[in-house]
């Protein structure tokens, strides 16, 4: 099965700090083999489907081949062994920033919806006109939202702050949380689906 693996710079596992064998001369890296039963997470090799990507963003994205009995978690897969096939070159600091900015705008729109529901259309319009994280942060500080929209607006400001600082994974999380606040758990799921769709499309990944 072809899936994906986020690693820290230099091909290091973000939690294990394991140095993954990298592909060389267009040949896949060596197989990384789990120590024991692959159904036990601690001894399996992990990766993610396109739909899982927003939860695991790190410096490097790799296409990887997972082999053996594939177990599926909430937001990841695991297998007895895997190897890196190729780096997804499109995932770099610029792409991460564009994704963070997009998530900030999504959170902004959810906050604007909350403002409209609270009867403050003027503030909603003013917020929607702001496009960059810096401007969104400024707008959320300038507004005096109705009480029922106050937290959602503050969350949008937090998301934009994180986007401005390049923390795409947190900006994505906040966008999903903001969606949930406005539309419930299904809206959060839809937000995560939008995020994985953005990544899949931008990076031309195999679903």
């Amino acid at each position: 099965m072809i899936a994906y693996k986020f690693l820290c710079a230099g091909g290091l596992g973000p939690f294990s700090r394991y140095a993954w064998p990298l592909p060389r001369a267009e040949r896949p890296g060596a197989w990384v083999i789990a120590a024991g039963d692959a159904t036990l997470c601690a001894t399996a090799v992990h990766g993610c489907r396109v739909a899982d990507l927003p939860w695991w963003l790190q410096d490097e994205l790799w296409e990887a081949e997972f082999d053996g009995a594939i177990a599926t978690g909430r937001h990841k897969i695991s297998a007895p062994r895997a190897r890196l096939v190729r780096r997804v070159e499109g995932w770099d600091a610029g792409c991460e920033q564009r994704f963070a900015d997009a998530c900030a705008r999504r959170a902004r729109d959810h906050a604007a919806t909350a403002l409209e529901r609270a009867g403050d259309s003027r503030s909603a319009t003013a917020l929607r006109e702001r496009a960059t994280p810096v401007d969104i942060v400024r707008a959320t500080r300038e507004l005096d939202p109705p009480e029922t929209a106050r937290v959602t607006v503050a969350m949008a400001g937090d998301g934009a702050t994180r986007a401005r600082n390049g923390h795409a994974i947190v900006a994505a999380y906040i966008a999903a949380q903001t969606a949930a606040r406005v539309g419930g758990p299904d809206a959060a799921g839809a937000e995560r689906a939008w995020q994985s769709g953005w990544l899949g499309s931008e990076l031309r990944l195999r679903s």
Binding site: P14, F15, W55, R74, H75, P185, R192
Partner: protein
């Protein structure tokens, strides 16, 4: 989509289980989702992992920098006086 998640305070309680590999799969996934986006908890995990490694080394090898005997006697004396409420000397 589940909205189960853990927060930093919960991670602090689970960190040693995580390092021991003694965590059931659903909890492990929640912990790693949190770690993926929380710099503070990653730093905390790094600190306790380093501490555990240093302690394990010390248990294996004994102290690497044992003070000289006179220094040790002074330290022990000062410690005893302090426990007895006297001046450290």
């Amino acid at each position: 989509m589940s909205f189960d998640e853990i927060v930093c305070r919960e991670f602090a309680e689970l960190a040693t289980d995580y390092l021991d590999g003694a965590m059931p799969e659903p909890t492990l996934e929640l912990v790693e989702e949190h770690l993926a986006m929380c710099d503070w908890c990653r730093d905390y995990l790094h600190q306790i992992r380093t501490t555990a490694e240093v302690v394990a080394d010390a248990e294996d090898d004994g102290p690497r920098f044992a003070p000289a005997e006179p220094v040790m006697q002074q330290l022990v004396g000062a410690f005893r006086r302090r426990r007895q409420g006297g001046p450290p000397g």
